[in-house]
Amino acid sequence: MTANPKGPANMTKTGMIDFRGVNKWFGALNVLKDITLSVEPREVVVVCGPSGSGKSTLIRCVNGLEAIKDGDLVVDGQRLGDPATNMTQLRTEIGFVFQSFNLYPHKTALENVTLAPIHVRKIPRTEAEKAGRELLAKVGLADKVNAYPAQLSGGQQQRVAIARCLGMRPKIMLFDEPTSALDPEMISEVLDVMVAVAEEGMTMMVVTHEMGFARKVAQRVVFMDAGAIVESGTPDEFFSHPRTDRSRAFLSKILRH
């Protein structure tokens, strides 16, 4: 896990998520600039940077919620945009946690968790419900199995959303600012669940400014600005010895609070 994704150790093997010279535009705006980044299996990478720097776009590309313009993006051995790649199939291997939770409001917590296992994985309902209850218990919501999202707090909703992803037994989990929409007192309950998922060896890309989380479980922090990866290193290197002016400016802003 070196700071340099093109280092000798990575020459032969390909990562779980491999960006090679990826570019993306929104109209004339170059939102991703020549991104090269490789995430190894079981690695946890935290992506941070000022708002509008392209970090959300970066992870939304990984499961094809955004299409890339040029370059290569290979996820779990499959090239995105390749006609041979079955995107729906690939997405079943990738969990995605949204900033705004996006739970299905008309379904209970348990139904949110079991929907995809039942309809995509074709797991029998009773079995899926058993697994769903276990997952909800694991994220500390055993007593909220039959609650609707509107009856849950933000932190609880986000934990259901994480359980919903885990229900598919994904190889990769992507988190798009999972705690940004939460009241401060609810942040830690969500981070605790994320730490537990990371410690089980999940491959994760996490867009977040939660430095405690980064220090605890991330092998690497990637700092983005204006669509480009400016700096990449271990959490300790990055937070203690940022190498660029832009990352120093960014850190001084988020650390002041």
């Binding site: 729906t88 705004s100 409001p105 008309h106 309809h119 509107a150």
Partner: protein, 224 residues
């Protein structure tokens, strides 16, 4: 004189019942078919294929922008010229179904568009197929927007069915025309015709109102 007229009206009641039956059958068949077709069109319209979407859009605009009487004449009198012979009942069903489908298409499309994109993204991200995304995630949420105006539209379409009397179908309105020739009291006869329509429509009006109230409450509750 009024006594005589009433007696004569009472004698017409089997005819009136037939007319009411025709109105109900026509409405029922075309509303069921129109609802199915309308949902299909609404889903296709919002489905992302721009060509399909704009073809449906153009057709819906055309139907919504022309009088129903003209449409029914075109189907009943012009299609036979092209070699498609239709009896009045079939022509009536086709015209009403098409009209219903077009209005319902717009209602359904509006409902689907009202579902937040985050919902579709969540469904996409978990690998749900297009069918399951629609069936499990989008449509159930669209329905709370769709249901009240849908039932309201049913009321309008039942009343529009009176136009089929123009091609000789003996529905409630045409019964009125027939009876008024024997009982020269247009006010009374068509008052009764109106009552007939109202009896069919009023339960639906009540249903629409109840749905609106219920959906309104549920929406506030479900708001994220």
């Amino acid at each position: 004189m009024i006594w005589q007229q009433l007696q004569s009206l009472a004698g017409s009641y089997p005819l009136a019942l037939r007319g009411l039956g025709m109105t109900v059958v026509l409405s029922l068949i075309s509303l069921v078919l129109g609802t199915l077709l309308g949902f299909g069109l609404g889903i296709l319209r919002t489905g992302g294929n721009r060509l399909v979407g704009s073809v449906i859009g153009a057709w819906v605009d055309l139907i919504r922008g022309t009088p129903f009487l003209v449409q029914i004449f075109l189907i009943f009198f012009i299609l036979p010229e092209l070699g498609i012979e239709l009896d009045a009942f079939t022509a009536g069903i086709i015209a009403l179904t098409n009209l219903a489908a077009c209005f319902i298409c717009e209602i359904v499309a509006a409902g689907i568009r009202s579902v937040p994109t985050g919902q579709v993204e969540a469904a996409l991200a978990s690998g749900l197929s297009r069918w399951h995304r629609m069936r499990q995630v989008v449509l159930p949420q669209a329905m709370r927007i769709v249901l009240p105006p849908l039932v309201g539209q049913y009321v309008l379409l039942i009343k529009d069915s009176s136009v089929v009397s123009a091609i000789g179908l003996t529905d409630l309105t045409r019964v009125g025309w027939l009876v008024v020739q024997r009982v020269p009291n247009g006010l009374l006869v068509f008052f009764l015709v109106g009552v007939g329509y109202f009896i069919v429509c009023y339960p639906l009006i009540m249903l629409a109102r109840r749905l609106e109230r219920r959906m309104g409450a549920a929406h506030g509750e479900v708001q994220l």
